[in-house]
């Protein structure tokens, strides 16, 4: 099972100075920054997925600047991602449309021909057909029942585009492997789409629209699709948000999936921000410690603008919190004292009140409990990856993209190991006991 990382310019500055809290003045974004495979010294994934919607163009505003997007299209994905070295030659580069960026539109903004051209021109190894997301998933519907008029229209658009896309890819003798995207409003409608994609000639299918679905729902879809297509048909899950749950998906013979979850959980989750390998095949999670930049954090700045806090006071509390954490890391400060400084600075952020006025609030109590667990365990000292060795306690501080994305990249590395352990486990177990696995997964 291949773990494909969905990138959206997720790099960090290797020269970032944690003490001065800044990049060198002459830093040039992208050029002086390092992708996960550069900062770790190896690729913590089997491939990278780039969405056209993330790159952006004159219709869809992406995450790339216009000049980065132009460069991407001029030099190709591999060179742009700096995967053009022999040690990364085995990595696959998947492309898709990024259907979430045009989810509101009546039709996708791209034609099958221009997407095929885009993949070919940019040197993708795999390219997904032009799909349109269907909402209102209902696991209970049987056969082709149900589905709103809009869902059915999107179903037809996705299949029509898949047909055109395969034709274009063949006509241009494209170098990439085309993936037919499955969209549907129920397991059976997806199975029908999958059957038709196979009939068109696809032998690699990608399941779209999985992001809002819960794990058991995704499994129902996979099961229906697996019944409808030959065993040789490979399956990819697009935007697999339930990446932590991947061990329960083994029985479905998934060839590959893409996700960005381990990275973004580092800074978009309320508590599970830092990964470590756990007992058996599990992962362990820790909450990162929020110390935002006093004069850059939008919420604190809003409070300063309104006159609720003085900027100078916030700066002082911020320095106390950071100083205490560093001292704690050097064994020069006690846990409770450190925690206190962090919480005093957390009060304006979480409660918009001075610490004195809200120190017993449930929010701060919850925070204190999670922070205490993190500080007690010192997980950053339990990891030997290059990031944790270099950044020490800063990897666990929730503050700015350089710390947050470093933590995310560390998570990618832990996650890749996790996937490998699962694969190894599968290799020594009989692989034909699907029913038992299905039951085990639902428990």
């Amino acid at each position: 099972m291949k773990f494909i990382f969905a990138d959206s310019l997720d790099y960090v500055d290797p020269a970032f100075d944690f003490i001065a809290d800044r990049s060198p003045a002459e830093r040039q974004p992208y050029w002086d920054d390092a992708y996960p495979h550069e900062i770790l010294g190896y690729a913590p994934y089997d491939g990278v997925l780039v969405s056209r919607g993330i790159v952006g163009d004159h219709r869809v505003k992406g995450k790339y600047t216009a000049s980065q997007a132009r460069r991407f299209r001029l030099v190709g994905a591999r060179k742009f991602l700096r995967l053009d070295k022999p040690e990364f030659a085995h990595l696959e580069i998947f492309g898709d449309c990024g259907a979430f960026t045009y989810v509101q539109d009546e039709r996708p903004p791209y034609t099958p021909a221009e997407m095929a051209e885009f993949y070919d021109e940019c040197g993708f190894t795999h390219g997904a057909s032009v799909d349109h997301i269907i909402f209102d998933f209902d696991a209970g519907l049987v056969g082709m029942a149900g589905g709103s008029a809009e869902a059915r229209q999107r179903f037809d658009i996705t299949l029509e585009n898949a047909e055109g896309f395969l034709r274009e890819a063949r006509a241009m003798d494209a170098d990439f492997t085309p993936l037919g995207v499955v969209q549907g409003w129920s397991p059976d409608s997806m199975a029908d789409a999958a059957r038709r994609l196979v009939a068109m000639g696809y032998d690699y299918l990608a399941l779209g629209g999985m992001v809002p679905l819960k794990s058991p729902e995704i499994k129902l879809c996979l099961e229906a699709i697996r019944h409808a297509v030959p065993a040789s048909t490979r399956l990819h899950i697009l935007g697999f948000a339930k990446a932590d749950d991947i061990d329960s998906f083994h029985g479905y013979d998934i060839s590959s999936f893409d996700t960005t979850s381990p990275l973004i959980r580092a800074f978009k989750d309320a508590k599970q921000n830092y990964y470590l390998p756990g007992d058996g095949l599990a992962l362990r999670y820790f909450t990162s410690i929020r110390v935002p930049q006093a004069i850059e954090n939008p919420k604190l700045q809003r409070a300063v603008k309104k006159g609720m806090f003085r900027a100078e006071d916030l700066v002082r509390l911020e320095a106390l919190a950071l100083g205490a954490l560093r001292a704690f890391d050097r064994d020069e400060a006690e846990l409770e004292e450190t925690l206190h400084h962090v919480l005093v600075y957390s009060a304006p952020l979480f409660e918009e009140k001075p610490h004195e006025d809200c120190k017993d609030s449930p929010t701060l109590a919850r925070l204190a409990q999670r922070y205490r667990a993190t500080l007690t365990e010192r997980p950053w000292k339990q990891c030997s990856c290059k990031i944790c060795r270099d950044a020490a306690i800063d990897v666990i501080i929730f503050r700015g993209s350089n710390r947050n994305k470093r933590r995310g990249i560390h998570n990618l590395a832990v996650y890749q190991d996790h996937i490998e352990r699962l694969d190894l486990k599968r290799a020594v177990e009989p692989s034909d006991d699907l029913p038992r696995r299905l039951c085990a997964a639902e428990q």
């Binding site: 163009d57 216009a66 006159g307 900027a311």
Partner: protein, 362 residues
Amino acid sequence: MTYLAVCAQQSSEHKVLSFAAKAADVLRFATIDRIGRDAQGELNGFQRPQVAAHIREIRDYLEKPDAVLPNPIVVAFTERVSVEELETGVVRLSIDMSAGAPGLVVDGQQRLSALADLDRDFQVFVSALICRDEAELRRQFVLINNTKPLPKSLIYELLPTVGDLPPRLSRRSTASDLTARLNFENTALRGYIKQHTCPEGIIADTVMQKIIMESLSNGVMRELIRGPKGVERCVRLVSNFFEAVKKTWPEAWHGQKPNSSRLLHGAGIQAMGDVMEVLAERAGARSVEDFRDGLASLKDKTAWTSGEWHLEGEVRRWNSLQNVNRDVALLKHYLVGLVKADLRRKAKLAPAPLLESTPAPS
């Protein structure tokens, strides 16, 4: 706290005086009064929030041993100061600190914030203004901070002659230097670029700098400028490209102005900047002839001076394209698409190479 100060005769209503003080001391006798509202909704204070990036840039500069800061921090007082005349024009200023800092920083808060973090004994000039009341003090703040900035094109033209600039400006400086060379050396664009010192130019200098900066940061000039004779080669590249443009569309170039030809307009120049990148990067174009070959496919598909543009699903009158992001992006996409299609066609027509194809020269 007391300071010896010089006093200027300016107004009978206010006293104005000047002295040198350490930044840390300024922050002891004066506070930065940020604008906000109290519980009753009354407005108080006046300073904007700190701007982190701005402070960082000032700090980078002040860390250098040869840094100077000749312009003063302006501090206003309405009470708790006394001025004793020692001799004509020289006074002793006494600041009563018993009830906290009586002064308010009217100008220079970002500089002070930068200095506050700086581990260095650095004195600044303080201009102190003693005024009647808070209202007068705010009036001074508005007047002092409402100055008209210098025209950008003047600053940009000066940049190449100034050393040791913050990186933000030094990248602009390189682009400004290349632009000036294109305008004043023997190039296809000589005299064409409107600069502060070349007001009769036709193409906006900021637009020319924009395409150059893009190329320097993510395009063909990035490598080029680092090589031997980098600056000359960059100037030559742009010159050769625009020479080819002139030869391809002479009627849309000669004697035209931005309002009569979109080719000389911000939208056209920016879009052509992208075309230059594609031809240089994908086809290895460097000479006038290389670029002319590449531009030939566009010749009859433009509407620089009349007619209509047929931009995917959108028909636009020639003069309805404006120098706004959306229009520029649309035009870029259209022209670059045609050029790339042409390059693909040529690649297919080319006989299969006997040997492994050599990479395009860069």
